[in-house]
């Protein structure tokens, strides 16, 4: 059996779904924090295997969705600077900023390159010594180490035309912020697999100790997620909260020390603005003084002004589990994947896009 196939085994998944159903004797609300979980749940039709009494709510773990409008506007501002190449991961291309998107700016002739790794962006900088290459640094702890590594490489090579606009976010502070929001009712968290590979189970320990809410780290294959949900429903029904790891083959308690070290060397924690959650203390990353030369915000004196999200857009409420996509008055009318207004509809990991694509 192939490595991934054992986690897509129909009998195993049916058995796990059966166990979940038998434990769901009351209404349970579980938040999958990560956008990749959301997409995977829809892609594999996992909801259709679970009882109606169990609600899976999408959380603020889609890196594109939580990127603040002001940060998106900053990317557009950079792309419009003369002699600049903006390098970005693909899923940021179509996200609407104020009045534009990177895709639209590219069509207008701005030099915006889709890259598959930060090392591609570095290669662009080496190949274009007379241009400034700026990498649009978005994402959680999963992508931050590779972006830190690109800054260290640029530093070692003395590359004077490479910088990063740092809009990174951290997952544990977002969980903390969610618990403080009114109108958010969550009985357990399915914690993100990729992020946890880097930060390890230990990163959630203080959050768990404070709130004593069931937390399970899960991978992205259907059996992984069903195992995580099964553990959560067991904890919820028996009222025995715990912090567990259902993704042991990839996630350790300590996480990846090497990646953490690279991240700590280059970044420090900073306050960050999240779409839907507002400003959260120490929930983002900024580039340390030592590497200020590689900080695009400083190099180009970009001071992002707060920008309003599209009028009527409920992405913020969707990201925090306070409403479902169909509850948004723009969903499916003014906001569709073909003509998206909010990031949750445009991102491949967005909740609204997943609802539209898989669940209509």
């Amino acid at each position: 059996m192939e490595h991934t196939e054992q986690y897509r085994d129909g009998k195993l998944c049916a058995s796990l779904a059966g166990q979940i159903t038998s434990m769901c004797t009351e209404d349970m609300r579980i938040m999958e924090v990560c956008g990749t979980h959301t997409v995977s749940i829809f892609r594999h039709g996992i909801r259709t295997l679970l009882p109606r009494s169990l609600s899976l709510i999408s959380g603020p773990g889609c890196p594109v969705c939580v990127t603040d409008q002001a940060e998106l506007d900053a990317f557009i501002e950079i792309a419009n600077m003369p002699d600049t190449i903006l390098a970005t991961f693909g899923d940021l291309m179509r996200v609407p900023a104020t009045g534009s998107s990177l895709e639209k700016e590219k069509a207008r002739g701005k030099d915006i390159r889709m890259v598959y790794s930060t090392m591609d962006a570095l290669a662009l900088a080496r190949a274009n010594p007379d241009r400034q290459v700026v990498f649009a640094g978005v994402g959680f702890e999963t992508t931050a180490p590779t972006i830190a590594a690109s800054i260290l490489a640029a530093h070692a090579e003395n590359l004077s035309n490479y910088s990063v606009y740092c809009a990174h976010k951290l997952v544990p502070p977002a969980l903390e912020a969610l618990m403080g929001l009114s109108g958010v009712e969550i009985h357990g968290f399915l914690l993100p697999g990729h992020v946890s590979v880097i930060i390890g189970g230990q990163a959630y320990a203080s959050f768990f100790e404070k709130h004593r809410i069931p937390c399970v780290i899960a991978g992205f294959e259907p059996a992984d997620m069903l195992m995580g949900i099964q553990e959560l429903t067991e904890m919820i029904s028996s009222n025995t909260p715990g912090l567990e790891n259902a993704y042991g083959r990839a996630v350790s308690w300590q996480g990846n020390p090497r990646a953490q070290k690279v991240m700590d060397r280059v970044f420090k924690t900073a306050n960050a603005r999240w779409r839907g959650l507002g400003e959260i203390a120490k929930s983002g990353l900024s580039i340390r003084e030592e590497f200020a030369a590689f900080d695009a915000a400083r190099r180009f004196s970009i001071d992002p002004r707060p920008a309003a999200a599209p009028a009527g857009c409920a992405c913020g409420e969707v990201l925090t589990g306070r409403c479902l996509p169909p509850d948004c008055r723009l969903y499916g009318t003014a906001c569709t994947p073909a003509d998206p207004l909010g990031p949750c509809m445009v991102s491949s990991e967005g909740t609204c896009a997943a609802y539209w694509k898989y669940n209509r």
């Binding site: 829809f42 039709g45 899923d91």
Partner: protein, 337 residues
Amino acid sequence: MKNDTIVLDHGSGGLLSHELTEKIMLPAFDNDVLSRLDDSAVIESQKGRMAFSTDSFVVDPLFFPGGNIGDLAVNGTVNDIAMSGAVPLYLSAGLIIEEGFAIRDLEAIIASMAAAARQAGVSIVAGDTKVVPRGAADKLFINTSGVGWIVGDLEINAANARAGDCVLLSGTMADHGMTILNQREGLTFDADVKSDSAALNGLVARMLSAAPDGIRVLRDPTRGGVATVLNEIALASGAGIQINESSLPVRKSVSGLCELLGIDPLYAANEGKLIAIVDRACADAVLAVLRQDPLGADACIIGQVTADHPGRVVMETAIGGRRIVDMLIGGQLPRIC
């Protein structure tokens, strides 16, 4: 040829244009109709219904594992004609070449076009070459148009699907799309993937002779992939389509690359595959014919046409869940993590 790259004069209509035609195109596309070099190709026709199609090819990179823009341009139009059940006979080829393009590459591409045309049994009988200044086009674009004749009163189109029919796919999905993605943008995954570019008219002819009345719809799932074509059929026919994830054929190497990049193989392009909606009574016979041919060796039944959920494509997932398979909106973009 004195030049080793294309210069603007190759498109001027003068001596160099003539040389390009005489030395590269004519020997490669060798046929009586083209050799007359008249302003239009005068071709023998027959009374009946004609299928006519055109397509432009702007693929980057021009050369990729499994083919190049030349054979792709021939196979693409041959397949479009074959999907209406017609027998493709004649093609035209229009080339837009960027100044500075290597003649050696042009020769290789023309040779591939000629080989693909021979393989498909069609003649390239008309053509045109334009050369544009450096930067005005990306290396080389090819447009091919083609005509073919429909035998008898055959009616094959997307509106014909009806509840109870079987959905057949002639082989593995996403080979072409993932090959191009792997080659483009400097991606360096050492994946064993190659394009499935091939002409399917021979395969279609054999399917039609095995089940002359049982084949309702034929489509080649190129851009937008299998998912988009199934949606088009569901919309055109007003029927629902249900597919089974466990039945969908994808090569291991291709599925690995898809997983890595967050691409759904259902939406990735194919250039040598067809989807057939077939009367259930004929499905096994058509499947047998497909599997006898190397181009259909991996053919399988991937689902059924249903009276449920009209106009929609629904998939039963490998773990027994259900979900919608929507039409692709925009291109697929690799994810962040």
